[in-house]
Symmetry: none
Subunit: 118 residues, 2 copies
DNA sequence: CGGCGTCTTCACATCATCTTCACGGCGCAG
DNA sequence: CTGCGCCGTGAAGATGATGTGAAGACGCCG
């Protein structure tokens, strides 16, 4: 029996236990705040898709995004920072200018992949 | 199957014999009060997972956590103190602000442990 | 009775989190 | 070039959550 629709989500080396409030990166527990965790869950549940700020805000903050509110961006930054800290070199949260954010273990463009400039 | 759900639990250098009311740290017995032991057992049975205060209180005190009751925190502190006393330098009980506590022998995530060399 | 350990509750210290602001870079329309 | 919208990023202040020491009540036992 499924107690919840999304009890456990996996995205690459990430494992998110929505109910428990726990997120594992490469098997290790992440230390996330309530907002950070909420944001991660919201993105994870829509992994691979672009989620608009409006939708993100609704999901995490539980209300309409007010004009000029940057909370979303700030928390995406914090979350990115912690993820980068735990799993260096693999960007999870991708920005789609004008549209929103997308959680995905893969790079944005499959094209010139390893073109690590230099 | 397990005749008793958690007769003996091991967490790192900790060994907890729930039935016996005995807890060993690195081989030597800990001197714990009833509440402290109950708390340790509750956490140990959910090792690796975050346990909320509400759940902890239910498990150890056997009733709903009353608003404003800090007993849980106080006992986590006492237990931490004794564990630190027995096994210095390895944090077992991790705090997840806004969620609860988690028992785990490993650190949440290894920062760039500044030359803690030694 | 007196000592001892335990449990609970307080008051205060500390720390983490949340929100908002301000500045700066970037890309694009005009 | 210049203005403007969008986003990244660091920091400040207020607020809330947790850590911590201590006091009082209670029961147990010699």
């Amino acid at each position: 029996m499924e107690p919840s629709p999304a009890e456990l989500v996996r995205i690459g080396d990430l494992e998110i236990r929505a109910r428990e409030g726990l997120a594992l990166a490469g098997g290790r527990a992440l230390t996330l705040s309530v907002r950070e965790f909420g944001l991660l869950v919201a993105l994870a549940r829509n992994a691979g898709r672009i989620v608009s700020r409006e939708e993100l805000y609704e999901l995490v903050w539980g209300g309409p995004l007010r004009n000029g509110d940057r909370s979303c961006d700030v928390y995406v930054h914090k979350l990115r920072s912690k993820l980068e800290d735990a799993l260096p070199g693999m960007p999870f949260i991708h920005t789609h200018v004008g549209f929103g954010y997308r959680l995905d273990p893969a790079p944005s463009h499959p094209f010139h992949t390893a073109a690590t400039a230099r």
